[in-house]
Every structure is written in structure tokens, then in C-alpha cells.
């Protein structure tokens, strides 16, 4: 690679938030025609570095140079104009507008102020074709899958004569095939000389695509490495700062499982999931595997009463129950951690203590408020048990990193001491360290007799933890397999042939 002309150089970046130094003298550089991965655990400062770069946050010290000239963006629109485009982790587009508008709004083709719709659609189609995506560009964005929305966001970023493309966790909501498609696009862009800053928690993906990586830890720079000169184990060690042997020996799955806890018979919801019969025993982890949109979340929501079943029955502990609402399910000892922790889980404005106490309080009813002392006890207990950082029960949840937010959500439900814990994508978008901790926790809980329904897009993770795996395809449970020597390939094959074999 030619090391002469870097397009972006950040030097000595320092950023403080109240109570925490998010970035402490970080250097970062980016060359045209490379994919540069920014690596680090949750809270290491990756998101902050991106926000500083794109002008969402200002810096306290340090300088940013773009193509040799010092810059300080006052906002994302200015950064875009200068050629720094960002695709955020959560899709930040307007679901009520068409695909074409989402790509081009703000710089749509006009004549005398009149939008030229046909030229606009054509331009949008061309941009999407660059990403190998052929869809109806006049469709409303909200009707499309998250994966496609992500592609649309990238198409928008590409349209602004971008020189630097920042991708913050672009793959966390994509399935394997969609990730491959995205990677192909990134390779093509790299070949065109684009400088790409890539943030991902998937180490395999980073090694597959990145030329170079910068590792951050606790807001400090650990170092910059060429991908060819570093191994995966070395990388993880640098990110975590200590040897991490635990990741691969997460659990001795407890062999013995108890009596049946939950049994469904022909449970179904029109448009959600076709009839399925599933049993979960005490102390058992049942994994749900399937592609994005195969009905994993829909199944989980039925068991929590978040959606109503049209058909079928649910028995809990041998007794027939009508899961009319989440409240009924909670009274039966069911807990559900949504995959959508921002909109369906945590209340960002409340503190760690308040968020953890919420479900327990809901179970007690408003006539019997939890004392503040008891709330603090609960918070302290779970902050310690789950290693939530910062270890301050009064910290506002919205300021926490993704992994710590996930832990707070888990703590809320664990505090209700559920019999069945439903975890929908509990490790999505969080780093290796936190992921291993959560996996270990699931193993411990099941060993203690809790039944767990574990939903994840990562097959390795499902297989590592589950006693049984239910495979879904096209909103249907196509197979239920005992996890005895199953491999991800077995599951893929089952998904591919629809469980016929």
C-alpha cells in the first residue's frame, strides 16, 4: 500500500463527558483505497471518535485534518459536504418517504426548483445498482427489511461525492448472505479509491475485509496494525487487555434438565408464525436459529404475550394459560429481553437503578412501591453480578455503551427471578468481552434451573449454549434438533432444505 497521502488524520483527540474521559489523546489515520477497522470493547471510545469526526460532538483537544487541511465540522451536514459520509448503526432515514427520496433528498435533481421525479428515480436506481440491489425505488422505505434500509443508507452516503465513508456497525442487523453482499460492495468501493472506516464487533468480518486496524481501549489508543500482521487472538487480547481464554470454553452445558416448564401446542399467529409445538424444560436452553425475518422474534413475542396467538395453547407447569398480555406472562414467571433495547427495552432518560427496578415494580403493582433502599440493593447486586460499567446506580442509562445497556436490560428481568427467560438477540452489537460474559451468564442461569429461550442470528453462539435448537424458516418451525455434535453447517443445511431430511 502506498503510505504517502493520507486523506484523514486525527491527532491527539481528547473528549470529556461529565464524569468520564471518552477519548484520551487518540491518533487515527485513514488512507484512500483502504478499509480501516476501528476496534475496541464497548465504551472504548469508538462511537465517540466517529461522532467527533462527523461533527456530532466537538473535541476538547486535538486536531482533525482532511486531505491536509484542518477541519472542524459543526454538524453531519457539513461533514457530508466535505466528503465524509456516515452510515449509523441504527438506520437514520425517514420510513415514510420513498427509497429514492431517502437516497437523494437534499440534493434531488431539480429544474427551476421543481423536483424531477423521473430523473430522481433513475439516479436512485443507478446508485442502488452499484450496490447490486434492484428494488422498486418508489416503495416506501418503512415497508422494506432493515437490511435493505441499511443498503439504502449506504447508497445515500455514496451519492455525496464521498471521499471518506464511515460505517458504524453496518452488519449488526444483517444475515450472512446480506453481509457477504455488503462486503462485495465495500471491496468495489475500496478499489475505486474510497477510504472506508469500518466499525464492527464481528472479528471474522473485520479480518475478511479490513486492510488495517486501530484498536482502542478505555478511550486510549492501543495501536495501529496491518491485518496481515496480527492474529485474531492477538487482536482480542489487545482489545480486552488480558488473555481471554474464557470465550471458547464458555460453558459445560449442564447435562441434566428438569421437568417440562412450557409446552405449546399448535401455537400460531396469522402473518407472524405458523403453528408450532415446542417444549422447554427447566434448566434447559432452547435456541432459535433461522435467517433474519424467519419468525424468530414473532415466536418469542407470542410466548411473552406481547402478541396474541390466533390458534393453539400454552401450558406452563402443566396448567393451561392464556397469555393475553405481557403482564399475565410475567405473573407466570416469563421474562423477555427484546432485541430492540432502545425502543422496546430501556428507558434512556432513567437511571440504572430505575431501569432495573422497573419490572419488579410492575409485578408488585403501584400500591406497593419498592423502597429506595431495596432498589439500590437490587441495582448494586446486579451491577456487581453483571459487571455493569459505570458502577453507579444513578448513571443515566442513555449515556451507557451498548453492552452495558444490554446488561441493564438483562438485570431488570433477572431481578424478577423468572422461570423462563426469553433472550432475543442479547449479544447483537456488543463487544467480545461483554458477549462472553452474557453467554457465561446464560449457562450459569440454566445450570441453576432457569429455562432459557435463546434467539440469535449467530449460529455458533446458539450451538454453544443450547440443549435443543428449533430451526425456523419462512415463519415456520421446520426442525427441532437435539444439540449433540451439531455444527453450524448442519443448521444451515436444515434451513436450506426446509427440514425435509
Amino acid at each position: 500500500m502506498n503510505d504517502t497521502a493520507e486523506i484523514l488524520r486525527m491527532t491527539g483527540i481528547r473528549k470529556r463527558f461529565p464524569g468520564v474521559t471518552a477519548l484520551d489523546g487518540v491518533d487515527f489515520r485513514l488512507f484512500p483505497g483502504e478499509v480501516h477497522a476501528l476496534m475496541g470493547e464497548n465504551g472504548a471510545g469508538k462511537s465517540t471518535l466517529i461522532k467527533v469526526l462527523t461533527g456530532v460532538e466537538g473535541v476538547d483537544a486535538g486536531s482533525i485534518e482532511l486531505a491536509g487541511a484542518a477541519v472542524a465540522f459543526a454538524g453531519p451536514d457539513q461533514a457530508q459536504l466535505a466528503g465524509v459520509s456516515t452510515v449509523y448503526q441504527e438506520v437514520n432515514l425517514c420510513p415514510n418517504l420513498s427509497v429514492a427520496e431517502n437516497i437523494l433528498l437534499g440534493r434531488e435533481p431539480r429544474r427551476f426548483g421543481r423536483i424531477q421525479w423521473s430523473r430522481m428515480r433513475k439516479r436512485a436506481e443507478e446508485l442502488l445498482a452499484r450496490l447490486d440491489l434492484r428494488i422498486d425505488v418508489s416503495a416506501e422505505l418503512g415497508t422494506l427489511s432493515i437490511a435493505v434500509q441499511q443498503m439504502v443508507a449506504i447508497a445515500r452516503a455514496l451519492d455525496v461525492e464521498a471521499r471518506v465513508l464511515v460505517l458504524d456497525e453496518p452488519t449488526s442487523s444483517l444475515d450472512a448472505r446480506e453481509v457477504e453482499q455488503l462486503m462485495a460492495v465495500l471491496r468495489a468501493l475500496r478499489a475505486d479509491g474510497m477510504a472506508i472506516l469500518f466499525v464492527s464487533h464481528f472479528i471474522d468480518q473485520v479480518f475478511a475485509i479490513a486492510d488495517r486496524m486501530t484498536v482502542l481501549r478505555n478511550g486510549k489508543l492501543v495501536g495501529e496494525y496491518r491485518t496481515s500482521e496480527i492474529t485474531q487472538v492477538e487482536l482480542v487480547t489487545k482489545m480486552i487487555g488480558k488473555e481471554l481464554a474464557a470465550l471458547d470454553e464458555v460453558s459445560e452445558r449442564s447435562a441434566a434438565t428438569g421437568p417440562e416448564l412450557v409446552a405449546t401446542d399448535g401455537l400460531a399467529r396469522a402473518g407472524g408464525i405458523e403453528p408450532f409445538s415446542l417444549t422447554i424444560r427447566r434448566g434447559e436452553v432452547v435456541g432459535l436459529a433461522g435467517l433474519l425475518g424467519s419468525g424468530r422474534t414473532e415466536l418469542a413475542r407470542l410466548l411473552f404475550g406481547a402478541d396474541h396467538a390466533d390458534h393453539g395453547t400454552v401450558d406452563i407447569d402443566g396448567r393451561r394459560v392464556q397469555l393475553r398480555s405481557p403482564r399475565v406472562a410475567m405473573n407466570q414467571g416469563v421474562a423477555f429481553c427484546s432485541e430492540n433495547r432502545k425502543t422496546e427495552g430501556l428507558i434512556a432518560e432513567l437511571t440504572i437503578r430505575e431501569n432495573i427496578a422497573l419490572a419488579v415494580q410492575a409485578g408488585r403493582g403501584w400500591l406497593r412501591p419498592l423502597s429506595r433502599r431495596r432498589q439500590l440493593e437490587l441495582a448494586a447486586q446486579y451491577i456487581e453480578a453483571l459487571d455493569i460499567r459505570p458502577a453507579d446506580p444513578e448513571a443515566v442509562v442513555g449515556t451507557l455503551s451498548g453492552g452495558n445497556q444490554q446488561k441493564v436490560l438483562l438485570a431488570r428481568w433477572l431481578a424478577t427471578q423468572p422461570r423462563l427467560l426469553i433472550l432475543d438477540e442479547p449479544t447483537r452489537g456488543i463487544d467480545v468481552g461483554a458477549k462472553a460474559e452474557i453467554q457465561r451468564l446464560v449457562a450459569t442461569l440454566s445450570a441453576d434451573g432457569m429455562a432459557v429461550l435463546f434467539v440469535s442470528a449467530e449460529l455458533e453462539e446458539v450451538l454453544r449454549l443450547s440443549h435443543h435448537v428449533a430451526v425456523l424458516r419462512d415463519r415456520k418451525v421446520v426442525a427441532q434438533l437435539a444439540n449433540e455434535g451439531l455444527t453450524p453447517e448442519d443448521i444451515m443445511a436444515t434451513i436450506a432444505d426446509g427440514g425435509r431430511s
Partner: protein, 328 residues
């Protein structure tokens, strides 16, 4: 790639037109019902009369559509319209200003009020409900500072606008106000669908934070919609002066609610981002035709209009909710 393509084909674009089509069906149904029961109802003039009687409401509702599309609300429209009629009457009758000077002044006054409310809403991040509620009281109060009595208008231009019919042949006619209102509708439709500003209005309604991160001019757009709403309210007030040839400090009380009802019945969603100005026209016509039906019946008290509108609002909000839920 194939799985991806298959998943993409499942959208149904008609869904977003559904509330508008429902309003259209309701309108046609009500008209058909009236035409069958009362022979006189079937004449086209009944429909044109609805336009004549509600031209000012239509203009005000068009302004409210802009605001509601961004997810905001404007409660001040009735008071601003009343203020604009009062100011017109005062300037014409007591100060002796000519009509061509009065109209631009009152329009500018309405736009200014809207502009100020927009600034407060955006830069102080205060709920539009509260800000425009304050604007409503303020404008109503200003009406009384002009006069506590109603003022009748005998300016020749205004009387001409009130009394000159525009004949359409076949014994049908409309008032000049109807033409003005329809021109406003046409401009609004063009702006909303063919300009960057119009599409930004929808984008802000779809997600203000997203619109900001997309680099769109959110501040300017939000302030502009309240300015437009103020301008339309003032124009509505002028048309009201043409229609009644008088100004009453208590005029147009509750008009903001009629305007919001018309917008909602026309299929615009109160949380913003979805709706059409043509739907608003249908909404106004629905309100008008209900009133006309009840007048034709003759035995029902005029409060039945309110009751029917109340029921319709419930039905339409429920319909929107159902559609939104299905789309999820």
C-alpha cells in the same frame, strides 16, 4: 440475493392512499344518500355551495395540513383568522385604508405571528400545542383591543368579492373566494410534492432526528410551516370577511378544531409524515356535506353536525391506527 428480492416484493403501495380513499367513499356515499332522499340535493349547485360556504375553512385547513405533516399542531388558526378579519375591518372602516393595502398588511401580520410561534417552538423546544395555545389566546385578545363590537364592512372591493358570482354555465356559480381557495390548494399540492421544501416537510414528520442526520434543513422547515399556517389563517380571515362582510371579535371560535378535524378525516396522520392536501379538501367537503344534509332534513338540530363529526373522527382515527398496525 433471491431471498432478498422475494422479501422486497411484499409491499402494498395502496395502503397510504387508503384513508384518502375512505374519505372519498364517505363523501360520495353521503352525496348519493342526499341525492336519493332530497331531489334538490342532486343539483351540482349544492356541491358548489359547500365550496362557497367553506372556502375560508379550506384555506385554513390547508395551512394546518403543512403543520400536521411535520407532526406539529396549530391551535391558533381560528384566532388568527378572526384577528385578520378584525384588522381588515378596522383598517377599512375606521382608518379608511384602501383594500389593496389592507389585504397585504393583514396577510403579513398572520405570517409574522406564525413565524414567531415557529421560532419559539423550534429554538426553545417547546411543545407546539402549548405555544400555539398561547398564540390562540394572544390573537383572540388582540381582536378585542381592536373592538369589542362587531364591525360591518361596506368597502366596495370587499362587497364586490362577496357579491360577484362567477358563473360556470348551466345555472351553476361559485364565488371568487372559491377560486382563491382552489388556487391555494393547487399551490400547496405543488409545493408539497414537487419542491425540496415540501419533501422536507414529510421527512421531518417521518423522523426529525433522522432528517437532521440526513443533513436536511429542519429548523428552516419547521419555522416555515408555522409561517405558512399563519399566512393561510390570515387569508382565511380575509375570505371570511368577503363572505360575511363583517368582522366579529368572537368570530371563528373553534375553527382550529374544524380545521384539524378536516385534516384528519382527509387522512393526514396527526403524528406527521403521512397525508395529502387533496385529502384535506375531501375532509372539508365531508364536513360541509354533513352540515348540508342536516339542513336539508330540517328536523334535526344543527348540533347533530357536531355529533356526526365526532363519530367520524373516531372512525377515521381508528382506521389510521388499523392501517398503521397492519403495516408494521
Amino acid at each position: 440475493m433471491t431471498a432478498l428480492t422475494v422479501r422486497l416484493r411484499t409491499y402494498r403501495p395502496q395502503r397510504r392512499y387508503l384513508p384518502v380513499l375512505a374519505a372519498l367513499a364517505l363523501l360520495v356515499g353521503a352525496y348519493g344518500f342526499g341525492a336519493v332522499r332530497y331531489p334538490a340535493f342532486g343539483s351540482g349547485q349544492v356541491v358548489l355551495d359547500i365550496f362557497i360556504d367553506h372556502a375560508f375553512l379550506l384555506v385554513v385547513a390547508v395551512g394546518a395540513t403543512f403543520v400536521i405533516l411535520t407532526g406539529g399542531i396549530d391551535l391558533s388558526v381560528g384566532s388568527v383568522a378572526a384577528l385578520s378579519t378584525m384588522a381588515s375591518a378596522d383598517l377599512l372602516q375606521h382608518k379608511g385604508w384602501p383594500a389593496y393595502a389592507v389585504i397585504p398588511v393583514v396577510l403579513a401580520l398572520g405570517a409574522l405571528l406564525g413565524f414567531l410561534m415557529g421560532l419559539v417552538i423550534h429554538y426553545f423546544e417547546i411543545q407546539p400545542f402549548i405555544v400555539t395555545l398561547a398564540g390562540m389566546f394572544l390573537a383572540r385578545g388582540l381582536c378585542y383591543t381592536i373592538s369589542t363590537e362587531s364591525i360591518s364592512i361596506d368597502n366596495p372591493t370587499y362587497t364586490a368579492m362577496a357579491q360577484t358570482p362567477i358563473t360556470l354555465g348551466a345555472g351553476l356559480h361559485v364565488s371568487p373566494s372559491v377560486v382563491i381557495a382552489l388556487v391555494v390548494v393547487a399551490i400547496a399540492w405543488y409545493v408539497l410534492h414537487f419542491t425540496r421544501f415540501g419533501r422536507t416537510v414529510y421527512a421531518v414528520g417521518g423522523g426529525e432526528r433522522s432528517a437532521l442526520l440526513m443533513g436536511l434543513k429542519v429548523a428552516r422547515t419547521k419555522v416555515s410551516v408555522y409561517t405558512i399556517s399563519g399566512l393561510c389563517s390570515a387569508l382565511g380571515g380575509v375570505l371570511m370577511a368577503f363572505y360575511t362582510l363583517s368582522a366579529d371579535p368572537l368570530g371563528a371560535v373553534g375553527m382550529e378544531l374544524d380545521a384539524i378535524a378536516a385534516v384528519v378525516i382527509g387522512g393526514t396522520i396527526l403524528t406527521g409524515g403521512s397525508g395529502y392536501v387533496l385529502g384535506t379538501v375531501l375532509g372539508v367537503l365531508v364536513l360541509g356535506i354533513i352540515q348540508t344534509l342536516i339542513t336539508f332534513d330540517g328536523t334535526l338540530s344543527s348540533w347533530w353536525t357536531r355529533i356526526v363529526i365526532g363519530v367520524l373522527l373516531f372512525v377515521f382515527i381508528a382506521l389510521q391506527r388499523l392501517i398503521a398496525r397492519r403495516a408494521r
